[in-house]
């Protein structure tokens, strides 16, 4: 069982996702990066791209983000996105 961390995906208008996840892949300004549980504290800006989340159950979900921020510390991760749409898989 992969260890989990808490993730919330927030937009200025609403909370899009909140829950425990195994893995997150996000489009940083310096390229895509992946985050697993117990990641070192990190703050980074996001660019336009696909956000992939593997939930606790193992199912993957994708969203399109158009810039924003990502923060993780102490196994709590937050995506602050400017605009998000559900990506077609």
């Amino acid at each position: 069982m992969a260890s989990l961390f808490k993730l919330s995906i927030l937009t200025p208008e609403k909370t899009l996702f909140e829950g425990d996840v195994q893995y997150l892949e996000a489009p940083g300004t310096e390229g895509y990066f992946g985050v697993l549980a117990h990641h070192a504290a990190l703050v980074t800006a996001l660019s336009v791209g696909t956000l992939t989340v593997r939930a606790a159950s193992g199912t993957e979900e994708r969203w399109q983000v158009a810039g924003g921020f990502f923060e993780v510390s102490n196994n709590v991760a937050t995506v602050l996105a400017d605009a998000v749409t559900v990506a077609k898989s």
Binding site: L10, V43, L80
Partner: protein, 285 residues
């Protein structure tokens, strides 16, 4: 004394007004629920971005950004958030009264307004106060698009040096009955607005703290303006709901008293007629 016919007409008119008030009250109640949900949905983002900003300004030593720098205040822009429509009780007048005081206390010409909502625009135009920009024909729900537009307009003016300070005047929604008109400093995003916290300190910043800071500030400003818009909209609907509720009640009381007068008048007419008949019959005897 009104004639029975006039009275009947007034009763009918008041009753139909009462129905309109009731309908408007219910519409406002429904819109209030939606506006409130929207305002609350914006909360997590606003809280988080504020925390991030505090964290960032606390951990990285010297961060500089034009939006973050306070300077000597010569001109102030005052953002007034009002409604497009009236019939909302004291909602618009409360904001405008505070604005009027603010304008009066400052040196003439040193405070200019950016006005949201038709009511505010009309008021300022009547009074001849200087207006920088107006935003009317507001969407029915708090719009992020509008918040972005106003924020980018204001930040540009601020960076260009047209204004040295931006304040927002809006109505804070406490609950369905209580509202508060608040004035908050919007720009510069000062150390006053962002509580300096020690933060985690050791976080990695990618690409670096400065560029994240530069990206974060405009978004923080937008989130703040959006929150004020959403808050004001909830206040507007709650003010309208309360105003329409009491209008409906007053109309009901008016109908009751008019009906009473009408019945008295009718009874008086009947009594008079009977006594005339009796008098006539007696005269015949």
């Amino acid at each position: 004394m009104a004639s029975p016919k006039d009275l009947r007409r007034r009763i009918r008119a008041t009753k139909s007004m009462q129905q309109i008030f009731k309908a408007m009250e219910m519409v406002a109640a429904a819109k209030l629920r939606r506006a409130q949900a929207r305002a609350q949905a914006a909360n997590p983002y606003a809280t988080k971005i504020t925390a991030m900003l505090a964290n960032l300004s606390g951990s990285a030593a010297e961060l500089e950004h034009p939006l973050f720098k306070a300077r000597e205040v010569k001109t102030t822009a005052l953002v007034l958030i009002t409604a497009d429509r009236g019939f909302a009780g004291p909602y618009n007048t409360a904001v405008l009264r505070v604005a009027e005081q603010r304008l009066k206390s400052a040196a003439p010409g040193s405070v200019q307004c950016v006005v949201v909502g038709r009511k505010g625009r009309d008021y300022l135009r009547r009074r001849g106060h200087p207006v920088l920009a107006t935003h009317t024909d507001l969407p029915g729900e708090a719009s992020l698009e509008l918040a972005r537009q106003i924020t980018s307009d204001l930040t540009e003016r601020f960076v260009r040096g047209e204004v040295d300070k931006v304040e927002i005047l809006y109505t804070h929604f406490v609950n369905a009955i209580v509202r508060k008109v608040l004035t908050e400093t919007f720009l510069p995003i000062g150390t006053g607005t962002v509580a300096q916290s020690a933060g985690s300190g050791s976080a990695i910043f990618e690409p670096n703290a400065e560029s994240i800071f530069a990206e974060l500030l405009p978004r923080y400003a937008t989130a703040k303006l959006y929150a004020s818009l959403a808050d004001s909209l909830a206040s507007e609907h709650s003010a309208r709901m309360v105003a329409m509720g009491s209008a409906r009640k007053n109309a009901g009381e008016l109908v009751d008293s008019l009906t009473l007068t009408r019945n008295r008048l009718r009874q008086a007419a009947i009594t008079r007629e009977i006594s005339e008949l009796v008098g006539g019959a007696e005269a015949l005897n």
